[in-house]
Amino acid sequence: MTYLWQKITMVMALSASFAILFALPYLGISAFMVSFLLSVFIWVTLAVSWNILSGYTGYFSFGHTAFFGSGAFASAVADFYFSIDYLLTIPIAGVVTTGMAAGLGLVTFRLRRLRGQLFALTTVVLTSVSSIVVINNWGSGIVMYSVKAFWPFLNIPHVFYTLALLLCFASIGISMAIYRSRLGLNLFAIRDDEEAAEAIGINTFNNKMLAFCISSLLVGIAGAIFAGWIKYVWPETVFSINYSLFPILMSIMGGVGTWVGPIIGAAILTTIFQIVAGGEAVLNNIILGSLLVAVMIFLPHGVYNLVLSGYRRIRRSARL
């Protein structure tokens, strides 16, 4: 009974927030706010999608930069060189990044020894190499002049804001759904003890691939939306290491492995950045790096779990 009630409240809360956020730009908030919220939606998507793979399975990925940048570039290339309708470039970007993930998973998820480490490092290499290659070959960036669409969708004001909002909530929904599903249980089992999971009949390869592909699909789409929004797609921007690092920091700070953790982390961090943003990027990054180190050491389970255990302690002492 309580479970059903929880579910209903959850759905209502999410729908309400969606509705409010959707309406905000039409209610006359500043262009700056629209911009800020759009970036928040993207960051939440990145953090949540990172968590779907790395939080749930324990396979840490540094590949988000490669996927985000590839998604952005795939969209830009499709638009610029092939004049493809922008809205179609979004699924194209998704296919590209999912394909990359599938290829990578095919190689690394079959390993027997050191699988977690080698996976992590392979994603590090992917991110590093892909950014260099793209910078080498498309250094001057691609301008999406056209960003045309078959339907007059793009004439809708705040269309990119809405797309980002939809993606953000879709990611949250997917992450929640996985958390409660059989897939989620399998992933948690893999995280706890992969060999034991295999011994109990879980097809670890399939489950990991699914999580990885879903994760990178979301990131690729995020990249495409970002590209359409900024229209000037420059490698240094979209292949920035921040796109790998921030989602990790956000998820860990918020609470790795829960579906709500990354959202909290993303919300907190984007706010902090906004406050500190007045300073130079360099100082920002130094603070950020130090923050990540501190969080990794002192708050490894994240804010969410901290709050949760605090809550439990209060309840327990209340009962006594």
Binding site: I248, V282, I286, G289, L292, M296
Partner: protein, 286 residues
Amino acid sequence: MVSVTGVIQSLLTGTLVGGFYGLFALGLTMSWGVLDIINMSYFPFAVLSAYVAYVTVTSLGLDPFISLIFSIPSFFIMGILMQLFFNKFKIDIFRSLIISFALFVVVENTLTYVWTADVRRAPVGFLGSSFFIDSIYVPVGELIAFLIGVMIVLANVAILKKTRLGLALRAVAENREAASMWGVNYSRMALMVSGLSMSYVAIAGLFLAIFFPFTPSHGSLFIGRVFAVTILGGLGSVTGAFIAGIILGVAEAMAAILLAPSWSPLVAFLLLLIILVVKPSGLTWR
């Protein structure tokens, strides 16, 4: 048009550059293989060493190798401090990756803050010159780096095989608990290994300054290659890393002739994937 001379030239340059990759990877392979710590911060630290060399040449007017007198000991100490830090907080290998990545960001941005993002080129005189054997161009600096790399590898092999310290190191790399039962003091050894790894990083940084015009973020260009080399060579194996570096260097050079130079970093990644499919334990058995 690919000529024989062209191929030989590529092989030579590739080997020398590969030696540099191997040199760069030495610290990482030891740290990962023996200490179970993946230290991303080695990259900007190498650049720090490069800046030290740069300052030595431009401000002090001295030969860049002199900078090693300062950088090797200080890097050694920094290595010890880092290991103390990792020990104190009982960092496991995954957290070490993330924490060292964070450190990477801090160090790189500190370098940018201090020295700005301007490109620096250390005037290196003799080391920047080259000579010709039969129309094959041999760069002196790279050749020296390669030879130093070879010497380090040989010294490493000698130490590992012939000394008690080497025996202890090998034991620890294999089985930490068993080794401690035989009296090997793991923590002390870990400090030494960490210090040594950072010293290698200092040396690699020196050569970075000699070969390239560099910026604070120059280290990142090598991330892919160094990791590919480390895994290819087998974790913990200094010899393996060096050989793997050469293989990568040659492969990249070949790819540059046959395809296009701007895609050559991809070679490292593809090589890595191939190795993971074919022989995940790397070239040498640890």
